[in-house]
Amino acid sequence: MIASIPPGLIMIVGAVLVPFLPSRVRGAYMLALPLIGIWQLFSLDPGSYGQMTLFGFDLVHVRIDKLSIIFGAIFYIAAILGIIYALHNDDRTEQTASLAYMGAAIGATFAGDLITLFVYWELTAVTSVFIVWAGKTERSYQAGMRYLIIQVLSGVLLAAGAVVLAKETGSFAFDFIGIESLGGWLILAAFGIKCAFPLLHNWLQDSYPEASPTGTVFLSAFTTKLAVYALARGYPGTEMLIWIGIVMSAWPIFYAVIENDLRRVLAYSLNNQLGFMVAGVGIGTELAINGAASHAFAHILYKALLLMSMGAVLHRTGTAKGSELGGLYRTMPWTTGFCVVGAAAASAFPLFSGFVTKTMILTAAAAEGHLVPYLVLLFSSAAVFYHSGIKIPYFAFFAQDSGKRPDEAPPNMLVAMGLAAALCVGIGVYPDPLYAMLPFPVTYVPYTTEHVVSDLQLLMFSALAFAVLQRTGLYPKELRSTVLDFDWVYRRLGRDWTVFLAERTSNALKTIYADFGGMLNRVIDAVFHYHGPKGLLARTQEIGQATLVITVVLAIFLTAFYL
């Protein structure tokens, strides 16, 4: 029976019950759903399920193959970790929305056609905005509004692209799409928004850091990696993606260095890691697609771990700003330790998960002779160590003593961080089970002397550069600030222009109204003059006067006839 339920739907339908359950059993209930889901996923054989025909088009609700399984599996794992991390939280809105959101992302991963994909795609948007709003601040409300507009726009583009594409090809199948047609471009734009392509990226850094400590962990795993999956499905080997990917991998780093909110630093770093995956999809060889898929897998875990550690800091101290933190290792040693593990995994240190996945993409770039992409990705690798590897743990837990002595994170948070950290190390030490799940057979060997030595040289010298900059005082201090990004265009420039135009329009309308009113008044005055109570044509006459006028007229007629 359970085999006939589409993956993801268990969690979406299950979410409906959440608000009605007492808080004692709600956590266990929520945790049970993804556990059932992952068991169901691995009990299904690869193939297509839930086929139906709608208006003459074949729809495939569920398609299970190696590419969808690896993304589906990591989504379920992220759901389990996120739910454990949020067990102390009793916010029904966030709990319901997060379950439905995660279910929708999983459903989208297994969609075999563009219509099914569209339905789940939009569902991720409208459910996740409640997670942003669950931050319950004015800022989160406004960021959520901007987020919703942009996410729904992505869905609209997807729907439009699917229709155009179906007109061209006669099918809604979600397979290789490519950029040969208008439909392909529209769908690429839809995927690009959710994947946070350069200039389409600001919703991510805008909204994620405004959610609650637990909400950000849920958000970080799904939307963007769903987009990476969709790109890997629809646009492998599209060369343009290599260049988009390397811009994504490098540009956010500059912002990550100067941003003060450490969760926003992680959002920039998330964007930068997506760049590696997009570049991998663009390269499109078997090694590169394996690299993109495995890096998404590893990235979800270490990014969630880093955001969990910053969430714990925010939960305990009320802030995640570098300028307010420092020295927390004294009273939050476990969180510090888990954060350092996440930082090492993100930086791709040997024996941690990032090393066995990200180096695949770099090796694929080199193997195909992409010189500039290789050099940019290498730069980004060295720089990741800066913002994810050093900046996050250093400014939160070490650096100057902030005087804050918060309690250690709640036990459920520590369990979730511990599990994520164990997976980060486990994948790094023994990557074979992950490699076995990848879309293509793996011949890549991560642990060669050359790889390890080159990687360590890159990272340790990067650390040395940080140390030199710190000791010489050249490293920029963490300052309370807002850092303007491209969203300034619509949050300030667009707003100011709209206000300016609205003022001008309203002034113009006032003038027109006044002029028009003046003309109207003159007409009314003229009418009033002749037809008003004292007007010539409205004067009341005495009856005798009227008789006299009639008599005179008759006399004139009579005289005229007799003559």
Binding site: Y255, A382, A383, D401, G403, L469
Partner: protein
């Protein structure tokens, strides 16, 4: 400008025991240990033959130089970027 940087009066006066890492001398030790590790890694290039894909990876100290120089320049460039894009914390709330 510096008022928010917490130069905190020592909590240890209140009975907290100082940790090893809290001594400035030990931070200096960590720095020099890192420098020694870097030198050792660099010296490996003398013995290790690296495969060339582009013709420069096997140059002595390429990854070390790249790893040091580019992040160094990144930070200096990001500092300049601050002059253009940094605003007050409540910039968007006004």
């Amino acid at each position: 400008m510096d008022d928010h940087l917490f130069h905190h009066p020592d909590r240890r006066a209140g009975g907290e025991t100082p940790n090893w890492i809290d001594h400035p001398g030990n931070v200096r030790k960590i720095f020099w240990a890192l420098a020694v590790v870097c030198a050792a890694l660099l010296s490996l290039d003398l013995f290790l033959h690296k495969h060339d894909k582009f013709g420069f990876e096997s140059l002595f100290g390429f990854f070390a130089f790249y790893g040091f120089a580019l992040p160094f320049l990144l930070v200096l460039a990001a500092k300049q970027l601050r002059k253009i894009v940094m605003r007050d914390e409540d910039y968007y709330d006004r």
